[in-house]
Each structure stands twice: as structure tokens, then as C-alpha cells.
Symmetry: C2
Subunit: 133 residues, 2 copies
């Protein structure tokens, strides 16, 4: 069974706009389609961040560590959608400053879980990570 | 909207049995409900493993690093299910051997993406990670 085309289009646009909001440090845009009960598994500690306020703070931490201009680029994205629940997998790229003070690219993985609530797709969960070394 | 109760029960049992198969090093059990097109984001590198053969190899690596008896315990699990697509979030615990040769507990995060295919829930995606330090 394939995913409903209209839902895939809506979710792709939602994720594209969210990534664009991250690059613009636009907090209203970042939080525009998130549940109050958001569960975040982020790249840095803690193990989990529960609720929209804790989620918001993960972006303060992200922006404090990211060199300008902010990179937050979707390299590959796949969407699996039903009528009410969907998940997105993506390979992403941001940036970091090495000890040499050189800007380098950082690849990471992203999984997003969504539910359609009152006809609108809402993000309930994000999982961002890099492989452990 | 809440998740269909019967689907939540089936998915919970599927994930419980999968974790039990990991603890038993039972490869047939581990792979019993996975798609051929499985996409794995694992704790160690690589960034991604695509397809069921690559997924299988991530378990060879896991078992080569895990002290016996194998720990692979679900601490908390939440299931969001529609009629056709679902995702699971969980806090998990395995074990590792420190330089001191002491067995210590390792907390990690798990997200699983599933689709119902021909009436059966199938795992299309897993994302396992620890926070980066």
C-alpha cells in the first residue's frame, strides 16, 4: 500500500518549512506544527526532552553551538503516511566549528512522528542523532 | 484521536517479542517482522544501513560488543498507531564493559516506524541512538 499522495505533499511541505525556519532562527516557524506533548530525542544530552517548552530549549542550545549562517539541510527525505499517522526519515546536514576554528559539515539522522489532529498534521516526536564514536 | 486499541496491543507484543529475541540472540525472531527495505539508523556507524541484509549485520556488531547475558530492556514505551501506519518511541537499556572491565548500564533511545501490509504490522524503520558527548 502506498501513502496518500495529498498527505505526503502536505507533510513534505511542513518539514521543508520547519527546516527553513530553523535556518532563519524563526522560533514561531519552528514550533508552528508541534504538539504540546512533544517528545524530543536530541543530538546532545539530555536523553529525552518532554513537552513543548523543553523542546524549545533544545533549539536555544542548538543555536548557541551553530556557526552562522545556520545550516540545517535535508539531504534525503522519505515519508510513510497513513490517513492519521505518519513518520518521516531523513539524512540531514548542519555545521560545526572544529578546534582549528574551521567550519565543517556534520551529517546527522532525523526521524519525525506525526498524527493528523482536526485535519492538520502535527509533530509529536523528533529523534535527531549522530552515530556514536 | 486515540490509537486503535487492537493495533496498539499487537504492536506492543511485536516490539516486546523483538526485544526478547535480541536478548536470546535469536536472529529469526529479530528479523520476523521486518521489511526487505528496512532503513536502520544505529548507535554505532555507519550513518545508515539500508535493506534487511545490512540490518542483520548491525546485530552481528551489537552482539560482538555486548557482554553476556545480553541486556536489551524496554524502560518506557509509547505507541502512536493509525489504521495503516504507526510509530513507537522508547527508552531502552543495554550494557557495556568499561575499561575497568566493569559491566555498566547504557541508556539509549529508540524510534520504530511501522506499516500494516496485508493485515500484518511490519517494521520499516528503526532509529537507535545515544546522546552525543
Amino acid at each position: 500500500m502506498s501513502s496518500p499522495k495529498a498527505d505526503v505533499v502536505v507533510i513534505r511541505e511542513l518539514i521543508d518549512n520547519w527546516a527553513k525556519a530553523v535556518r532563519a532562527k524563526d522560533f514561531a516557524g519552528i514550533l508552528a506544527h508541534h504538539s504540546q506533548d512533544m517528545l524530543m530525542f536530541d543530538v546532545p544530552p539530555p536523553l529525552e526532552s518532554k513537552g513543548i517548552e523543553a523542546y524549545r530549549k533544545t533549539w536555544d542550545l542548538f543555536f548557541s553551538a551553530q556557526p552562522e549562517p545556520i545550516a540545517f539541510d535535508i539531504q534525503q527525505m522519505n515519508i510513510v503516511a497513513g490517513a492519521e499517522v505518519a513518520f518521516v526519515t531523513a539524512l540531514m546536514q548542519c555545521a560545526e566549528i572544529e578546534k582549528s576554528r574551521e567550519r565543517i559539515k556534520l551529517d546527522f539522522r532525523l526521524t519525525v512522528g506525526l498524527r493528523k489532529i482536526d485535519g492538520q498534521w502535527v509533530i509529536l516526536h523528533e529523534h535527531h542523532s549522530v552515530p556514536a564514536t
